[in-house]
């Protein structure tokens, strides 16, 4: 389709905006390390909320992790939850305000380690909330300790010799596990390691919020993300590491999508 410019100009050319910062985020610059894809994921969530025009009807729940300050970045009402308890806090909010949109933004330590109980029970109850689950295979904020999602062999502050299956066991695949629960409506795992996948990730987030809008049940999007600082890689190497190591361990795809009927 041809581009029509709304403005009346007498020159032959004018500039059309291809990409500009979403109003779904505040103007506060983030504290994230250079190249950390937390920032990308923030932008995607902000864009979805803006495009669905639900910013004013949304209450977000920040968790404890590098994203704890996300309450300063998302341009909607926010509340900050204790480590791992965001889904319980979100439940409290949503049960009082069933017609509002409620989402949590949680890291893999927060959600898969200390908080696995809260997310499982929220999912089993079919809480109509959306969980943005940022899996970077490590505890970022506390300085790079093992997460339940840390890969076998991966060196972290608490697995200095690499994660050893015989001691620390095997990584927990959250999407696969939650998909077994009947209360879940939409579950997808995506990645933020390159532009095409980033766009795919945004569509997944959109679908999750749509599921909430249609009161289908619990929705979660797991986004494979980077932690250059604690991985000891530069930002670009980190994206490569996601592609080469994380995706094979955490297959991307839709794990649950009940759309309408179950």
């Amino acid at each position: 389709m041809q581009d029509y410019d709304s403005s009346w100009g007498d020159h032959g050319m004018t500039m059309k905006t291809v990409f500009k910062r979403t109003n779904g985020l505040t103007d506060t610059p983030t504290h994230y390390c250079p190249g950390c894809t937390h920032g990308v994921i923030h932008r995607l969530v902000g864009e979805v909320l803006e495009e669905m025009d639900i910013l004013e009807d949304t209450i977000g729940v920040a968790s404890v992790g590098c994203s704890v300050l996300s309450y300063e970045y998302f341009n909607c009402d926010m509340t900050q939850a204790a480590h791992g308890r965001a889904p319980a806090v979100a439940t409290g909010v949503k049960r009082v305000l069933p017609d509002r949109f409620v989402f949590t933004y949680q890291g893999d330590g927060d959600l898969a380690s200390i908080g696995i109980s809260e997310v499982i029970h929220a999912a089993a109850r079919g809480e109509k909330i959306t969980v943005i689950f940022v899996n970077n295979a490590i505890y970022g904020m506390t300085g790079g300790q093992m997460a339940p999602t840390t890969l076998i062999g991966q060196k972290t502050a608490t697995t200095p010799f690499g994660r050893d299956e015989s001691i620390q066991g095997l990584p927990i695949k959250v999407c696969e596990m939650l998909a077994t629960l009947d209360g879940t409506a939409y579950i997808e795992r995506v990645s933020a390691h390159d532009v095409p996948h980033i766009q795919k990730a945004k569509r997944a987030i959109r679908k999750a919020f749509e599921a909430q809008k249609n009161r289908l049940g619990f929705s979660l999007v797991e986004i494979l993300s980077t932690c250059p600082t604690n991985w000891g890689l530069d930002p670009f190497e980190s994206l490569e590491w996601v592609k080469d190591n994380m995706i094979p361990a955490y297959p991307l795809g839709v794990y649950k999508n009940i759309e309408g009927g179950k």
Partner: protein, 76 residues
């Protein structure tokens, strides 16, 4: 003519991801530091930017805005 790609230098963290993804390699890191102590990304060769917005998509810090020149139908 106006810029195709605009960087909000002050919040750039010099992560270099935009540099990596730019198909036309017009982005580089400046040789000075911004207020945060980072060398901000920049484009001088605006003409060779194709407004693909890859840089903006990958930028974790929403530093970048992208525009595309379009013809205007003559009105009046």
């Amino acid at each position: 003519m106006e810029k195709r790609v605009v960087f909000n230098e002050s919040i750039c963290k010099s992560c270099g991801l935009c540099v990596q993804v730019c198909p036309t390699n017009v982005i580089f890191l400046a040789d000075y530091l911004n207020g945060k102590g980072y060398r901000p990304a920049a484009v001088t060769d605006q003409d060779n930017c194709i407004s693909c917005a890859k840089c903006a998509q990958i930028c974790p810090d929403t530093v970048i805005s992208v525009y595309r020149p379009v013809k205007v139908l003559q009105t009046v």
